[in-house]
Assembly symmetry: C2
Homo-oligomer: 453 residues x 2
C-alpha cells in the first residue's frame, strides 16, 4: 500500500483525491477501456512543482503514474492503473500570447479551443484542430501528436511545438526549445516528447507557434454513388492543389449525421466529401472551382460550393459530429488507420470487405486528404459473439493498414488499445530502440506503464 500521506504533504490541500466516487471518473478516457484499473489516488496538479513532487515521490516508491489531460483520448492512453496515481493537468490553465514572435506559452490543462480563442484575440491562429477541439486539452494534443481536419495543409501538433517544460520520471523539470523558429542546439528533444503518450515525461508547459488568422474559406460539398468515385476525386484534388480541408464520410456516417442534424444530406450517396480552400481573395473561389471540377470529373452525383462561412462551417461541423452520430448506433471500436494517399481506395474497399466478412457495421469517416481514416466498428457489447467479430475486424483493419504501408494510428496515439499491433507496424528493431529510450528516461518504468509498449 502506497503512503499517500507523504505525497499529500507536498501538495496543495485539494490536490489529492482519494474518494472512491471522485476517483471513478478518472479511471477511463473516452476509449472506455474495460480493463481499466482503480488508482490509489488522483493528483490534480496546479503547477510544475506539483507535478515534480508527484513524480519524485512516485519514482522513489515505484508507484505507476498515468498522466491525464482532459481524458478525451480514444486509445486508452490515460487508462488508470491499479494502485497507481492518475496525474491530471486539468487545473494548469495559464496562457500568454506574444504577437511579435507569434507564439503562445500555454499550460497543458487548457483546451485546444481555448488556445484557439486566445490566439484569435490577437488576430492569430493555432491550426491543429482535432474534431474534439472543444473538449480535448492542449497537453493531451502534444502527448499524442494530435491532428485534425486542417492537417492536410497545415500539419500536425508537432509542427507547432517550438518548446516545452517537461518533468522527467525522477521529478526533474527541464526546459526544451523556446520561442525560436530555428534552434538546432543539441538533440531535438522537444520533438521526442511530442507524441510520447506520457511514457517519457509529463509536459507542464508548451511554447506553440501561431499563424496569422486563417483567411475566409470556400467550401465544396460533393456526393458520390460509389466509394471508388469518391477516392478518385480525392486523389484528383490533392494532385492539383493543397486543400485546407478534405474530409470523407461514407453512407453509414451520412445517414447517422442526417438522423441527428437534418441537413438534407443525400441519404442514398455512398460517400460525401467536404473540401475547403482558404487561399486568399479570389483564389479561394478559384480553388473551389478546381475542386468542383475534380469531383464532377470523377463522376460526383451532386456538387455544390459556397463562400458563405456559416454554410461552409455547417458541413465541417457535420463531419466533426460524425463519430458521436455513429456512436448512437451502438458502442464503437474506433480505428485511426492511415495509408499513403494512393492506397486510400484499397484501404476503404478493404475495410468494406472486412466488415462484410465479419458481418459487422463499419462506418468509415476520414481526413481523406492526408490518408487518415477512422473506421468505426459498431457493436453490442452484450452480444459476446458479435463483439468477438467486431474485435476480429478491428484487428484485421490494422493488419490491412500495415500491409498497405500505413500506420495503425494517424493522430489518436497507440495507448493501450492498439499496442498489440505496434510491433507489426514498426518491427522488432524499432520496438527495441523505443524500449532503449524508454528505459534510459524512465528506468523504473513508473510513467504510464502498459501504454504503447
Amino acid at each position: 500500500m502506497v503512503d499517500l500521506e507523504e505525497l499529500a504533504g507536498q501538495l496543495p490541500e485539494t490536490a489529492v483525491l482519494t474518494d472512491a466516487d471522485l476517483i471513478a471518473s478518472y479511471r477511463h478516457d473516452w476509449a472506455k477501456d474495460p480493463d481499466a484499473g482503480t488508482p490509489a489516488a488522483v493528483v490534480r496538479a496546479t503547477c510544475t512543482a506539483d507535478v515534480a513532487a508527484t513524480l519524485r515521490w512516485a519514482n522513489e516508491h515505484r508507484v505507476p503514474v498515468v498522466p491525464r489531460g482532459a481524458g478525451s483520448g480514444l486509445s486508452g492512453g490515460a487508462t488508470a492503473v491499479n494502485g497507481g496515481i492518475v496525474l491530471s493537468t486539468e487545473r494548469m490553465r495559464r496562457i500568454s500570447i506574444d504577437p511579435v514572435t507569434r507564439t503562445a506559452v500555454v499550460q497543458p490543462g487548457l483546451l485546444n479551443a481555448e488556445v484557439k480563442r486566445a490566439a484569435a484575440e490577437h488576430g492569430l491562429w493555432y491550426p491543429p484542430d482535432p474534431s474534439s477541439f472543444e473538449i480535448c486539452s492542449i497537453g493531451g494534443n502534444a502527448a499524442t501528436n494530435a491532428g485534425g481536419l486542417c492537417c492536410v495543409k497545415y500539419g500536425v501538433t508537432t509542427d507547432y511545438v517550438l518548446g516545452m517544460e517537461v518533468v522527467l520520471a525522477d521529478g526533474t523539470p527541464v526546459r526544451l526549445g523556446g520561442p525560436r523558429l530555428k534552434d538546432t542546439a543539441g538533440l531535438s528533444l522537444t520533438k521526442l516528447f511530442v507524441g510520447s503518450e506520457g511514457m517519457l515525461g509529463v509536459i507542464t508547459e508548451l511554447t506553440l507557434r501561431l499563424l496569422p488568422a486563417q483567411p475566409p474559406q470556400s467550401t465544396v460539398v460533393a456526393t458520390f454513388a460509389t466509394l471508388t468515385a469518391a477516392t478518385e476525386a480525392i486523389l484528383a484534388i490533392t494532385g492539383e492543389l493543397r486543400p485546407a480541408m478534405l474530409e470523407f464520410m461514407d453512407s453509414v456516417a451520412i445517414n447517422a449525421v442526417e438522423d441527428e442534424m437534418r441537413m438534407a444530406l443525400d441519404r442514398t450517396a455512398a460517400a460525401l466529401l467536404v473540401a475547403r480552400s482558404d487561399a486568399p481573395g479570389e483564389f479561394a473561389a478559384h480553388e473551389a472551382g478546381l475542386m468542383v471540377a475534380a469531383c464532377e470529373q470523377a463522376g460526383a452525383a451532386e456538387v455544390f460550393h459556397t463562400a458563405d462561412p456559416e454554410e461552409g462551417e455547417a458541413f465541417a461541423a457535420a463531419r466533426r459530429f460524425a463519430i458521436p452520430a455513429v456512436e448512437r448506433l451502438g458502442p464503437l471500436l474506433l480505428e485511426d488507420v492511415g495509408v499513403p494517399l494512393p492506397r486510400l481506395g484499397e484501404l476503404v474497399s478493404g475495410v468494406a470487405a472486412i466488415a462484410e466478412r465479419h458481418q459487422v457495421t463499419v462506418s468509415v469517416i476520414a481526413h481523406a486528404g492526408d490518408g487518415n481514416t477512422h473506421p468505426l466498428i459498431v457493436h453490442d457489447p452484450s452480444d459476446a459473439e458479435q463483439t468477438a467479430r467486431a474485435h476480429r475486424a478491428f484487428s484485421e483493419i490494422m493488419d490491412l493498414a500495415i500491409a498497405l504501408g500505413g500506420t495503425i494510428t494517424g493522430e489518436h496515439g497507440v495507448g493501450r488499445l492498439k499496442k498489440a499491433w505496434l510491433p507489426d507496424q514498426l518491427g522488432p528493431e524499432v520496438i527495441a530502440l523505443t524500449r532503449r529510450i524508454k528505459d534510459a528516461l524512465d528506468p523504473h518504468g513508473i510513467l504510464n506503464p502498459g501504454a504503447v509498449l
Copy 2:
C-alpha cells in the same frame, strides 16, 4: 591499429580510401577545425548495407566513426578523428519523387539543390534552402536540421522529414515514419534523428514532404542609415504579415558583396534588408506594398520593390553570397546565434559593442525574420593576439545570445566548435538527458565522438 582488411572485405572494392593524399581532403568540413585528426580510412558507402557493415565493424572494434555528407558544415560536425573512420555518404545519390503523396525518397548524398531540381520537374518544391544549397547534402541538412532563407515562412528541415532509414551504432538499419502526413505510432524517432549531428545513427534514406511550386515572388529591398531603424522595420514587417524571406546585411557585408558583385548597393548604408512575398496573384504586390510602407515608416533611406523574378533573385543571391564575400576580408569565425525576434535589436547592437570592445571586425548578416543571425568575425590567424581577441568575441556573442533567451546555433549545428557553450544554453539537466539518450543508442560511443557533447 585497426584491422582495415576485415572492413574492406565487406565493402565494394573502391569504398575504402587509405591513401594519405585522398584522406587529407576528408579531414575537415568548412569549419576548418584546426584540431582535426587524421582518420585511418575514409569509407565511401554506396548503399545502406555498406553503412551497416562499417558501423557493425566499428562498433565491434570500438573504432570512432565520423559521418560526413558533402563536408559543407560550418561547426566542425564532420571534423575527422585520429585513427577513426570518416563515413561519407557522397555516393548514395538515388532519388524518387511521388507526385501523388507529394513526397521524395532520397539518399543522403544528394545535394539540396539536386533535390529541389528533381522536385521542380514534377512542379513541386522542397523549401529548406541553406545559402549553401548548391553544395550541401540533403543528409547533412537532416543531420543538422538545416535552415535557410525560407524558414521564416516555411520552417526548417525537420518540418519536411516524414521518415527515414537510419543505421544505428551497432549496424542495425531501421525504418522510421514514411510517406504519411500523420503517423503517431510509437515515439517520434524520425524527429529525434533530425538534428542529431551523427551522434545517434547514420541516415541512409529520407522521405521528404514536398509542396506545390512556390508562386512568383515580389522582392523589396531597403537600406537604412541605422541598425535600429532596420530592426524596427523587421519587427513591423513580421508583425503584419509572413514574408517568404526577410534577410539582413550590415555595412561590412554590403560593402563586401558590392566589392564582388557590383550591384550598385548603397555603400554608406548601415543595413540592407531583402524581403520577399510569395502570396498568390496580386497579393504578392499587396504584401510588397505593406513591406515598403513598414520600411519607410521605420525611416528607410531608400526602398524599392520589384516583381521581376530575375531582379529579385539577384538581391537574394547577393545575400546568399555575403558569407563568401566577407570571407575575402580574412578567415572567419562564423556564428549562428538566434534570439526570439523582439530581442533582435539587442543582439545586433550587443554584437557591435563586443566587436568594438575587442577591436575586431564583425559583420552581421541575418535571416532576420526568424531572429537567426550570422555574426562573422574576421581575423588573421597568423596574428595570435588578434586571433585570441576574435575567439573572445566569438565566445561573448554566444553568451549574449543565451542571455537574451536565444540559441548558440539556429541552423548550423553544435558540432565541435560550439559544444563548450551548449551546457550554458541547455543547462545541466538537459545535457544529462541528452547523455542518457546518447548512451542508450550508442553505448560504446563510436558515433561522432567529440561532437555536440
